[in-house]
Symmetry: C3
Subunit: 207 residues, 3 copies
Amino acid sequence: MSNEPLLLLTLDLTGTFAFALNGALTAIRVAQLDVVGVLTLGIITALGGGIIRDIMIGSLPPATFSDWRYLAVAAGGALIAFFLGRRLDRMARPINILDAAGLSLFAVTGASKALEFGLGPLQAVILGAITGVGGGTVRDVMIQRIPTVMRSELYAIPALAAATITVVAIKVGAYGIPVAVAAAVACFLIRMVSLRLGLNAPRPPHA
Amino acid sequence: MSNEPLLLLTLDLTGTFAFALNGALTAIRVAQLDVVGVLTLGIITALGGGIIRDIMIGSLPPATFSDWRYLAVAAGGALIAFFLGRRLDRMARPINILDAAGLSLFAVTGASKALEFGLGPLQAVILGAITGVGGGTVRDVMIQRIPTVMRSELYAIPALAAATITVVAIKVGAYGIPVAVAAAVACFLIRMVSLRLGLNAPRPPHA
Amino acid sequence: MSNEPLLLLTLDLTGTFAFALNGALTAIRVAQLDVVGVLTLGIITALGGGIIRDIMIGSLPPATFSDWRYLAVAAGGALIAFFLGRRLDRMARPINILDAAGLSLFAVTGASKALEFGLGPLQAVILGAITGVGGGTVRDVMIQRIPTVMRSELYAIPALAAATITVVAIKVGAYGIPVAVAAAVACFLIRMVSLRLGLNAPRPPHA
């Protein structure tokens, strides 16, 4: 994917922005926060997954934390949420779409980076999913909410699907922009269809 | 302990399995989770302590995360909890025994690994205990529960005992399989006796 | 600041002590904890911010964890809180003063260490603030409380101010003991004045 770095960067920053906006809005809805809290939680939602991945693979300081563009875009998304707040509630649909796009991109780039750093295929799939869902999970824990990703909806599962496609493609030597896009689109579609149909991951049979 | 690697691996994987099973069962009892949540929390309970230790000593990626056997055994334990759930409640006693065994082994191997990586004796004792109790602590925080280890029972204290024996033995050059087993057995016995007698760590005198 | 290492160490250990004492007292007030919990949360409050900073900059094992003096001072502060508990409530004012001093020092030393390790100026400011507020944030999450720093008071903002002064001074080559002291004093004064006046960071306008 080295010949399309600008496209990749643009997509990645778009995902970061959507995560920060959505993450900060969720935080405002659930908890009484001040500007420090909204900014912190927006940035954590946007960058947290990639930071966890980079800690796990030992790539420190974390890439998206070192690159001021990610920090700036994440802070921008969080500040928009801070100032517009519930007025953005009518934008739920476009924000969900951007969020699903972010999830898809992060899962693909997260899995591919983990492989690059020598992790095994199983670990790369898990780290791809963590890149996608990790930030929102940390945010939920910080606002005293059991992370949505562990309770309902299909959120980790599409990310795992995209990460698996990515890892398999790299392992068989078929990876490139087309496969990366296909993996992200698969994640995006599963996520959007499951949101529309209200699908949930299975619950324990005897709980 | 280099001449008994298979024994050590078997014991370590047994502890991992017990932690994942027990961790996932606790999570199911406390919170409404789906399959993603049960798997995540079972794996975090089993591997979380070792991952925190490896981050603190700078040994990345974390050993038990890199080794697919630990991931597979942890996922297996969590899935059994998912499918059998409360039906395992009558197995509380054997599960407690396995969990105490896991705690004991993790404290010993955690402390010895920290020393190997050049940490001081005090730090190695703390990291041994964290290896034993860290996973369950992270799980509790994620399901909105103040970690049991900080509230009641003797759980960290037997782990600290085993880690201290380990560190002292290594420092005086007396470490080997017999001492490692003795340290683990000491932890195991303190834990099981305290469970039986309902012992708790002391509370603040004027709280 | 290399010609005043003893002064710096003394100040740093004083801040560590105040953070541990205050952190453990807060934990005792909010949650039912045993001695393990009080010690753990006191130490986490005191050392947590620096540990997060050192993980982010890849300086492992974390400095204050490796140095037994920080661990010992933090454990001492937590134990005093454990034994004296609410009897220290009449000491709220001196403890708040020490806590503000700790916040100020940690923000300055945290930002300067991040720059030393090659992080950018924006990142160094953020890591300076995290060094000051990170430990209390982790403590709050562990006792099921939405971190104060994200809800009310001016706590992160004075830390950001001190970190910014530090980073600017280093970048223009004007850093030294006088500037470090000035940055810490600025943070300390903002914190103490805001406490006295009951100032809060702004809330979302439409929440």
